[in-house]
Symmetry: C2
Subunit: 174 residues, 2 copies
Amino acid sequence: MRRIVFVLVAVVALAGVVAHMVPASGQADKEAAPIFVTKIPPGYRDWRLISVAREEGSLNDIRAILGNDIAIKAYREGKLPFPDGTIIARIAWSCDASEENNKILGQPQSFVAGSPKNGVQFMVKDSRKYASTGGWGFAQFDDGKPADEAVLKTCFPCHQAIKARDLVFTRYAP
Amino acid sequence: MRRIVFVLVAVVALAGVVAHMVPASGQADKEAAPIFVTKIPPGYRDWRLISVAREEGSLNDIRAILGNDIAIKAYREGKLPFPDGTIIARIAWSCDASEENNKILGQPQSFVAGSPKNGVQFMVKDSRKYASTGGWGFAQFDDGKPADEAVLKTCFPCHQAIKARDLVFTRYAP
């Protein structure tokens, strides 16, 4: 009986190691197809603010970048690369001229967040799981639904250019 | 002895009432000079996000509006007027074109938060203490120092125009 239990434990442990070493595709980690984040990290709207930004062009939005506790701690300590468990969220809205504000302020100057736009995006750090994309899992959710793989495949090639900051565009705004 | 204690309690209680009824200036509450917030609410940079905005004109900044727990709860429940204890913070930064991002994105489109700008502002709800300014205490801190009273006196006249939302410009961004 004791021997059977030992053999079972060994098999389960080995299966775990194999699962880590060989992705479902059967390729080695380095050449693995990118894996994307498929579930919205819960509670992200309550996370603390990293920074804000405005994108013109086809994106044409105003955005906030939020981070979970691990992200905020790493940012504030200037810790790079970001540790596993870091999650960075990007929310965006239409950048609407506020007639209401402008009327009170006496001139056209005020733009506010309007409707949600360009989905909600996430970067999830797991240096092992997402090894093929620099340790980051990328995600975009449009109305709660994950974006197509074709969309997500465009994330890494761009983010890869910010190697000096571990693939993260956004700097912390004091 | 019992009588002395009773008289003392009565005097203290009366003093409390008087202190509430008559501000230091000796004026009645309704005509009182505005009272401003003189201390930075601790921990505001950790508060949750209400919304973001962009102000052009002489302000020329990009900004985030954060709220303490009471503020966020009231916003999400659509509760008006805001309850006492609500604090809303406005942080702003220069709105800087990001050459780094634009180079990667292939066109000029990206603006990011640069240096802190236009101070940090607060609205603190205390319907009794700040009765003369619609229940809101206003504050601005430039490099940690409270702004002159002349600056703070410009807050209420403008905010007064947003009566329908309890003097608060910013709407919650979902």
